[in-house]
Amino acid sequence: MHTTEAQNSEIPLMEVKDLTVEFKQRHGRNLRAVNKASFGLYAGKTLALVGESGSGKSTIVKTLGKLIKIDGGSVALAGKPVKNYRHTFEYRQQVQLVFQDPFASLNPVHTVFHHLARPLLLHGKADKKNVRDKVEELLEKVKLTPAAELANKYPHELSGGQRQRVAIARAIAPNPKVLLADEPVSMLDVSIRLEILNLLDELRQKENLAILYVTHDLTTARHFSSSIIVMHKGDIVESGDTDAIVLAPGHPYTQLLLNSSPKKNLTKEELGKERSERLAGKVSAAMKQSLYTNKGCNFIDRCPYAKEVCTAAPGYFTVGSDNTHKAKCWLYEPNSRQ
């Protein structure tokens, strides 16, 4: 189910190369929210994009959803280059989004039926006669039953999980090939999260969707993706197979993320030990200051392994023996490895 074999030989459905997005600031230089990001989305595969708030995850999603324009690099969908402001309608038929907050992404004055009928009619997937049947079909696909009854409800009558299912149904209405899910479960209760993620996983298999699953939670990324990219301050700092990233993380930032995730089945003593190790691992402020130059590695001010070489920007180096597993860190520079 989660194998990534043959991925390299396959052609990606959506290919992102050196994607750069900048925001204008009132003072000084532009803020580079995404710095030369490259990755591919494959049909029937889930790619998890992991990082903390402010790392540029949502900017990537918005750019790929054509809500923000590209400032550099290229995006290609099924081999065709994607341009700013052009062919947006056709593009959106192929690429759809699910947002974080199901309370804000649905219109409170319209019924579920309205939310789903619109994309169906717009993209010619239904006509006025059969639209009700098609809406109910969609609702059944996302397991909102009884469909006929739910179609007439307003968002406020639904729970958070149900709303997110409506948002997913709306996204898959035009039969897209790519689904961009921006933190689709972080606003939901723990008991409901897995059901929504299982639904996305099922749709991925049935509809052969390419899914970009954006999250700050490595735990769910582990279970619902075949590969992971880790972002930090606009840079992709590590990418590779899911198991490689979680079980043998290369970049110190990925290690930090993993250390911060809640763990199951640990005793109080083990937790206390971990906590004191974390505190001991903190780098002193003075050292951060002396090394920090703005030019080098972005993680330098938080990195426990920071040294002189890190004041220059690192490239991507292979971690371990698997050459799909790469980290943007000097630790893996072949010559420096002992």
């Binding site: 989660h2 903390e52 708030s53 402010g54 729970s159 958070g160 999980g161 149900q162 209760d189 723990v190 008991s191 409901i192 999260r193 897995l194 059901e195 299982n198 700050h216 939670d217 490595l218 735990t219 769910t220 582990r222 279970h223 979680v246 079980l247 930090l256 993320l257 993993l258 250390n259 911060s260 995730s261 809640p262 763990k263 199951k264 089945n265 640990l266 005793t267 109080k268 937790l271 906590r275 974390r278 505190l279």
Partner: protein
């Protein structure tokens, strides 16, 4: 200032870290609390809730949205606003000298005295809890002056700096405005504020929910360190039981306005009894475990404005049987004198 420091010293016991336990008797005792919301139909948000909070412990309250956990937190600090009202019950707080007072009976003036000094609260959304138009120095000063009108400016600044340092913030933060701080820094400020008057109880309502994992971890570490250092009691409310498994000493699981299971955290980890507790424990994927099919709990919580004669979890419960629908639930204790109880007919020999 000296009195505060004395109090800190008094509270630090050498064995505080290992023995954060039940030795000193409850500092807060909630008895048969019922809270309702007025409306076309009355919503029974908190039903017959009783629990104790002991000195120096972290008590976790877990439950999904709409289960009444925040209402409970507001109720025991007497902060509910209409349409919510307390129908019955008590929240008895043991004062320093050992004399009990019922928080729910205090009048406005007494409450103002009581809040911050005895019990303080950390709210979920730190963005909204700070005043956007004044700097932090002024906001801290407000809190100090509310309880100690004759405190000097220097003293205020000194204490504020010490508090900021305690929660791991730089001294220069004192002159900043809330919008200049990140979410995690704001949450640290709120925690520092809650400790201004060294309260004995701090209630934290989803203090880390809007934060990402790295910051969440830092804040949790900070809370545990402060708690060990100052030995106050914490009620930690969250929907994420995995956090509670790490930090709490005892755990209450709430569902549909009731406490369905209460136990020391270790016992919940090893031997959770209620099907709902087991359900939410199973909904947390394991980071390193084998990848397998995972399931949450199907269905949604019941409407609390309807009368439920039996178990509110029955429609979602995998182990439900005939009696669950209409026989009222009772607390079943695991053993005599045990702290572990569950409200489930599965364990009731009479049913």
């Amino acid at each position: 200032m000296t009195t505060e420091q004395d109090r800190i010293k008094e509270n630090i016991r050498p064995d505080a870290a290992t023995d954060r336990t039940i030795a000193c008797g409850p500092i807060l005792s909630v008895r048969e609390l019922n809270v309702e919301y007025r409306g076309e139909k009355v919503t029974k948000a908190v039903q017959n809730v009783s629990f104790e909070l002991y000195k120096g412990e972290i008590l976790g309250i877990a439950g999904e949205s709409g289960c009444g956990k925040s209402t409970l937190a507001y109720a025991i600090t007497n902060m509910l606003k209409p349409p919510a009202y307390i129908k019955s019950g008590k929240a008895v707080y043991s004062q320093e000298d050992g004399s009990p007072i019922d928080i729910l009976e205090l009048n406005e003036k007494q409450l103002r005295q009581f809040r911050w000094t005895e019990v303080s609260m950390v709210f979920q959304s730190a963005m909204n809890a700070l005043n956007p138009v004044t700097n932090l120095k002024k906001q801290f000063a407000d809190i100090f002056l509310a309880h100690k009108p004759d405190m000097s400016k220097n003293e205020q600044t000194e204490k504020t700096l010490r508090l900021l340092e305690m929660v791991g913030l730089d001294k220069s933060t004192i002159n900043r405005f809330p919008h200049e701080l990140s979410g995690g820094m704001r949450q640290r400020v709120i925690i520092a504020m809650s400790l201004c008057h060294m309260p004995n109880v701090v209630i934290m309502d989803e203090p880390t929910t809007a934060l990402d994992v790295v910051i969440q971890r830092e804040i949790l570490d900070e809370i545990i360190n402060l708690q060990k250092e100052l030995n106050f009691s914490v009620i930690f409310i969250t929907h994420d039981i995995s956090l509670l498994m790490e930090i709490s000493d005892r755990l209450l699981v709430m569902y549909a306005g009731q406490i369905v299971e209460q136990a020391p955290t270790d016992e919940i980890i090893n031997q959770a009894l209620h099907p709902y507790t087991n359900g939410i424990m199973a909904s947390i994927p394991d980071l390193y475990g084998e990848r397998k099919e995972l399931h949450g709990i199907p269905g949604t919580p019941p409407d609390l404005s309807l009368d439920i004669p039996g178990c509110p979890f029955e429609p979602r419960c995998p182990d439900a049987f005939g009696a669950c629908r209409d026989i009222p639930l009772q607390k079943i204790f695991l053993a005599d004198g045990s702290d572990h109880f569950v409200k489930c007919h599965k364990y009731d020999q009479r049913v």
